[in-house]
Symmetry: C2
Subunit: 212 residues, 2 copies
């Protein structure tokens, strides 16, 4: 996950159990202490490993937290719920549930903040967290195109820009609602959000289910 061993065929292998214990301990520490209170010494103690073992696998606090938080997003799925609106509402609610957990709240924004000055860290975040979410957008969009719910875009470059835009609008809105505004992205909010995303602000107020 963090260090590629091309073919370390000899010597004592690294303990996979230690990896899991360290990442779990990191999440526990995030819940109890938050980002600024988290220390690598404390994580090592919680995980039952020596501090030096921790430093052999991760370069620092940032990289460790990226990996610990990334595992939270493994549960994201996009089952076919019949319509684009239903698909969006479903995945956004999952996303919101993850962001509601304290170990994600404190850790995620902190590593993003540090990534603004740390290109390798940004790449790590992209590979571990962002790419998986982009894939969900691609899948949901392809499904909606097959259903005829979205206008086709033949130009690949234009299509790529649209996917990026949708991703930033969806993830950005949920993150901002949860972490900046500090209010829950509950069903009512997600419903209103999906409606605006699909039909626009100029559409007449709700009244019922969204049907694109």
């Amino acid at each position: 996950m963090q260090s590629r061993h091309p073919a370390s065929r000899t010597g004592r292998p690294r303990s996979a159990a230690a990896d899991a214990a360290i990442l779990a301990a990191t999440r526990d520490a995030l819940v109890e202490l938050g980002w600024s209170g988290l220390t690598l010494s404390d994580v090592a103690t919680r995980a039952g490993v020596a501090k030096t073992t921790l430093y052999r696998r991760w370069a620092g606090k940032h990289e460790l937290v990226v990996d610990a938080v990334a595992e939270l997003f493994d549960e994201l799925e996009l089952p076919d719920r019949g319509s684009l609106a239903a698909d969006i509402e479903g995945v956004v609610l999952q996303f919101a549930a993850i962001l509601a957990r304290p170990e994600a709240r404190s850790g995620l924004m902190a590593v993003v903040a540090e990534a603004t000055r740390d290109e390798p860290l940004r790449e790590r975040i992209r590979a571990s967290i962002v790419d998986r979410q982009i894939r969900l957008v691609l899948e949901g969009r392809a499904r909606a195109l097959r259903r005829g719910e979205l206008p086709p875009e033949p130009d690949p470059a234009e299509s790529s820009r649209t996917v990026d835009l949708i991703f930033d609008m969806v993830a950005g809105a949920v993150v901002h609602r949860t972490l900046v505004s500090g209010k829950p992205a509950d069903e009512a909010w997600v419903h209103s959000f999906t409606r605006v995303l699909l039909l626009g602000l100029a559409a007449q107020p709700d009244g019922g289910a969204v049907q694109a």
Copy 2:
């Protein structure tokens, strides 16, 4: 700004020049060192004040950076550009320009991350940064209602929820685009974003200017 002196009528007054120097030095340090590299000792040296002076005014790194970053958002304005679409594009471009500056990039997400575990800090962010942006949304929406570009919402509670939703969608998308995706929110992106926000994803692809 940070400590209200109800009526400190006696004694030596606090130096307003020191306040300005400290906040400017904080932004300089954010540019050069980033959030994690910023130390209060360094800021004090840059500002030409003693470290103790700094601690008399701010409780810690987080509060200081909130105030230093908040000043960046003072320049946000919402002139009447004739249409809702033009108003949105204009203010979003301003917002994106602020977020493109390194002193905002590294500092903003870091304090938001810490605010997830620090209620007073969250309140400080709300009062210094978020409220001003909410006011822009309120103003732009009222203007659009007068123009007949948005459907009226008589219920105040419903109207308040709509304003919050718009705010999270606009600010969230720009922040996510700039800080997570790491791509510039340039004119082309802002134009596409505004189009989706007003007309929805289901609308036919662009071709020209947006006219709601």
